[in-house]
């Protein structure tokens, strides 16, 4: 009798998991791959993270589909590994598992008032406007005139744009209907975006920064004083600055030189070298208290922002705070976790146990492997590394067949534990329905689990 084909489970159907599935099918050929996903829908942050006005990036889903699901990789959605089935269940049914669960929580600011109503993680706002079923019930109050966004990265830029887009612009996107309704009524006229470091160190890509300065009816205001570089930053930019950093400083100088536009519908203000020290308010956010920073060199030569002495704090009145200062992975039940770096301890994608020994058959990819760095395409190279390790182990015979081989055994387990799980046919039904519901939009997302499951299990 021929050897049964190796079976690999990938936990998490986001970009990292999708690149890993595609890479595995390309490299190993004769292997069965299942994409296990907590949500009823695949592609993770491509659906739930990428901003609705960046539809062009969402085209990547066609490539993912073509390279995975259309090549026989199975989608098993609405299955929460660690809850519905355990890590040990997975190990009993698969030759190997690749964890691709991403970084699911955000870093806190650790300042007083952070938990006041109307102070949120920017990622909660993102999940809400992108129709993530676990976030649809959040109630974002957009009745204040001013919002403050803390952070200078891609997510900070995304939430700022979404707050500033006009209803007409939003109507052409796949923004969730509940968010479209709330944003239509939004009274927010100004978003203040604050960065801890200086303009030369801002984490925006120059494409994102440029976008902020090119929005219809929106004035981007940067005070000239904000773009004067301190001597350390000037030296750093000339000697170590990236192409992006130089582009950003040029763009910011261009913005600072623009004449004021009093006729603008809305306004974005960028502030640098500022950290929040407290969020003030009695029963909800009323203001943010800000401290000035300065750039200093560490002993190892790298730059850091530190509180400037002899500077008074300033207060910015606002009715909404969105913080975006980084993400963190969360531990998975029964799988080792590095509490210091918030990743699965691993060597080239092979997960290690507490003694640094390889845990046979357990692999990782994406943000939970390397930390929350890089952009979409970074996951492709990351996945290649993990896939190479896994395929080497398969070929060297390091991975024995599982105790319960064959997809029938796994399917029987799922039928018992999660009878309403979503297969590729279910996802295709959801996808077709969402696209068909849209007239002038890319799709109209179903945003509750009940709706998604009902559509996945309908017959037409």
């Amino acid at each position: 009798m021929a050897e049964p084909r190796p079976r690999v489970a990938i936990v998490g159907a986001g970009p990292a998991g999708a690149f890993a599935a595609a890479g595995l099918l390309r490299a190993a050929g004769d292997v069965e791959v299942d994409l296990l996903e907590r949500l009823p829908t695949p592609w993770g942050l491509l659906r739930g993270g990428v901003a609705p006005d960046h539809q062009e990036i969402k085209r990547l889903e066609d490539t993912f589909d073509r390279q995975t699901l259309a090549r026989g990789c199975r989608f098993l959605g609405h299955v929460d590994v660690g809850v519905d089935i355990t890590h040990l269940d997975v190990m009993r049914h698969y030759t190997a598992v690749i964890y691709a669960t991403g970084a699911q929580t955000d870093k806190a600011l650790g300042i007083p008032g952070e938990d006041l109503p109307r102070s949120w993680a920017a990622t909660e706002f993102v999940a809400w406007y992108n129709g993530h079923p676990d976030y649809r019930a959040l109630d974002f109050d957009l009745s204040a005139r001013r919002a403050v966004v803390i952070g200078n990265g891609n997510v900070a830029a995304d939430v700022t744009r979404v707050l500033m887009l006009s209803p007409t612009e939003l109507e052409r996107t796949d923004v969730a209907d509940h968010a479209l309704e709330a944003l239509r009524e939004s009274r927010i006229e100004e978003v203040v975006v604050l960065g801890r470091r200086g303009p030369a160190q801002a984490a925006f890509t120059s494409a994102e920064l440029r976008d902020l300065g090119r929005m219809d009816g929106v004035e981007l205001r940067v005070d000239r004083s904000e773009v004067e570089l301190d001597p350390i930053s000037t030296e750093w930019l000339a000697e170590e600055g990236t192409f992006t950093a130089r582009c950003n400083v040029d763009l910011l100088r261009e913005f600072a030189a623009r004449p004021p536009n009093p006729g603008a519908r809305r306004r974005i203000r960028l502030g640098f070298l500022r950290s929040p020290v407290a969020i003030r308010g009695s029963d909800r956010v009323e203001a943010v208290e800000i401290q000035r920073n300065e750039i200093a060199r560490r002993d190892d030569g790298t730059l850091r922002a530190r509180a400037a002495v002899d500077e008074d704090t300033e207060t910015i009145e606002c009715g909404l705070v969105l913080r975006s200062v980084g993400y963190r992975a969360v531990p998975l039940p029964d799988v080792p976790f590095d509490e210091r770096y918030f990743v699965l301890p691993n060597e080239a994608g092979r997960v290690l146990d507490a003694d640094g020994e390889m845990l046979p058959g357990v692999y990782t990819v994406g943000w939970i492997k390397r930390g929350p760095t890089g952009i979409l395409g970074t996951n492709k190279r990351d996945a290649e590394e993990t896939v190479t390790a896994l395929v080497d182990d398969l070929r060297s015979g390091a991975l024995p067949p599982p105790k319960r081989p064959g997809r029938e055994a796994l399917d029987a387990l799922l039928a018992e534990r999660k009878p309403d799980h979503v297969t590729v046919e279910g996802w295709r039904a959801i996808d077709a329905h969402e696209r068909a519901s849209a007239e002038h939009r890319p799709r109209v997302k179903l945003t509750s689990r009940d709706e998604l499951l009902a559509r996945a299990h309908s017959d037409g």
Binding site: R59, T205, D211, R214, T244, R246, K380
Partner: protein, 93 residues
């Protein structure tokens, strides 16, 4: 003419794999690859073969005569990237 990569690039390296003249940079493994926010096409080397356009999974590559208005800066930016590179190479030599 030349092709040009817009800001919606996700640094998937499919274009680099198919480019017959190696005009797309930085390449994986190059010192400035990880820090780059996107990939760029060297207008002095591009032979307008269209292979990268076919390969790009997010349609971020355009011929210079057909760049959408929202990416109108891209042509200058791609050229600037290589102008800076060659300056760096001349200075280093």
């Amino acid at each position: 003419m030349t092709y040009v990569i817009a800001g919606s690039c996700i640094k998937d390296d499919s274009c680099i794999e198919v480019c017959p003249v190696d005009c797309i940079h930085p390449k994986p493994g190059a010192p400035d690859f990880e820090e780059a926010e996107q990939l760029y096409i060297d207008p002095a080397v591009c032979i307008d073969c269209d292979a990268c356009v076919e390969a790009c999974p997010v349609d971020a590559i355009f011929p210079d005569f057909d760049v959408p208005a929202k990416f109108d800066y891209a042509l200058d930016l791609n050229a600037l990237f290589f102008a800076e590179r060659s300056t760096a190479e001349r200075t280093a030599a």
